[in-house]
Amino acid sequence: MTTSHVTADVPAQRGTDGETPVLEVRDLHVEFKTREGIVKAVNGVNYSVKAGETLAVLGESGSGKSVTAQAIMGILDSPPGRVAKGEILFKGQDILQLPEAERRKLRGPKMAMIFQDALSALNPVFSVGNQLGEMFRVHQGMSKKDAKAKAIELMDRVKIPAARSRVGDYPHQFSGGMRQRIMIAMALALEPDLIIADEPTTALDVTVQAQVMDLLAELQAEYHMGLILITHDLGVVADVADKIAVMYAGRIVEQAPVHELYKRPAHPYTRGLLDSIPRLDQKGQELYAIKGLPPNLLKPPTGCAFSPRCPKAQDICRTELPPLVPVSEQDGTELVGRVSACHFWKEQIHG
């Protein structure tokens, strides 16, 4: 299993195998200037992904998971958004220091993004072949004819039936699942080292979700890419992710290898998320929900941002921000790759 672990202000982290992560985010802060004031959407996020590894970033809408992804890709709406602080290391190099022209060349060949709603994320007036081929034409200077052949190849790759005859079709002529496959094909076109998938299955039928997820996982394994999977669907995560980072109000509140997180969450928020998954053996009972609403990021609560909604909150939670600390067994042995930002993580994990 993975060994990279993340804490609030631990600098460079290397896996024990000495491999540099494909991507490492360090103490990332992102702000948005609005009329009402500065919204601090991301407040010191740290995570890393290695080649072939899948990191799932979990959180409610507004928790900052997509904003972090956009900051990595360099596609924040700016203004109003800006990276206030932090580093984004791509293969060890801080890409925030790069000029925009260099940054642009990373997008596509080195890192790519899959968006949630393929219907709105694909340009309605260009054929899918055109939009797929654009990757090769722009980044590799390929001729139109060759790019089209490549587009067909890609469509075959993501298992779109009759690719050759459909390459000239427009996005609206495809079904939701097929459209998302085209998005995936576009992201994979230049075989990047890192893929960020922002809720890739949220807009799809449940029946298609699994297919698309399987395809993504299969291609990721084949190309040995790092994958950041942003989602709020715990069901999607369990099968494909290696590790999970749970975000709340712009911070990572817990990170753990996937199965350990399901077994023994070390943060009450994670517990709440797990408890809200509908379960067959609880049929007939009221579904659990975390009470209250996500905090207003214009004026986040003092102390732990989750404290107003936390069933176990104490006085200290409302005054002091809990640091992200390594989690250990009761006997003190370190749980590799696990961190939690709860004052009472011990009580949470060990009961």
């Binding site: 642009r104 790519a112 709603d117 709105s120 994320a121 340009n123 309605p124 654009e134 576009m186």
Partner: protein, 307 residues
Amino acid sequence: MGRYVIRRLGQMIVVLFGATVVLFCTLFILPGDPVGSLGGDKARDPAVVAELRERYGLNDPLPVQYGNFVKNLAQGDLGEDFTQRRPVTEILQPKLVNTAKLAIAAIIIDIVIGVLAGLIAALFRYSFWDVLITLLTTFAVGFPSFVIGMVLQKFFVVDLGLFPLISDGTLNSMILPAFTLAILDAALVARLMRGTMLEVLRADYVKTAVAKGLPRRTVLLKHVMRNSIIPVVTYLGISFGTLLGGALITEAIFNWDGIGLALVQAVQQQNNPIIIGVVTFGVAVFVLLNLIVDLLYAVLDPRIRLA
């Protein structure tokens, strides 16, 4: 597609029928005798008047007159006018060319100024240029064209002497009327362009285009422009149809020898064949342009299906 065009052309005939019937009835109701007033203030020999009325079929009941008109129209004949006694088509043809010249010039100005101004306003939103463009377009929309035309005349013709006062059909004399005609549409196009472009800039697919690593130029000129231009093309197409029907006020101010001016004069002289000719042509062109715009719309936006 073929079926669609045929159906639309069928609808066009219905529209033409309706428009000409209304026109005929209106002209019939109007007071005054077109033939009797031909001589101006002088009284005319009743025998001449009677002969002229007979010659133009004005003694026939209205439905018969209309029937004859339709029969002739089907052969491309719009009849003979009252003042020069020449075929209406022959009179209108050169005027039509003049009007078309003016319309094309105006549309080119609309495209260049309107699209460019809208583009700048959208890309540099809330900047000095955006505010300036918003202000100017508000003025342009607010002023009636005869005011704009006369102000232009005062400055560029009377004060600066850059252009001739009376148009002679040369390119130089076309500039002022073309601008007068174009200003309103250019302003509307600029606003339309700004609005759609701001909307398109926020679209998810633009973010995708950036995430694909496309250069900013490609993102803007390909992905943004192609989507922003669709409503502008639609608007300009229909506007072109209106312009081809003749610009009454502008042509009158600059004495531009087009069908708009011809219509104004014909109305003053009760020269019914010319009125009918110009209006029929205007309606036909407008309807036809509408059809072309709809077809173009389907070409530009593959999501539109014609049925």
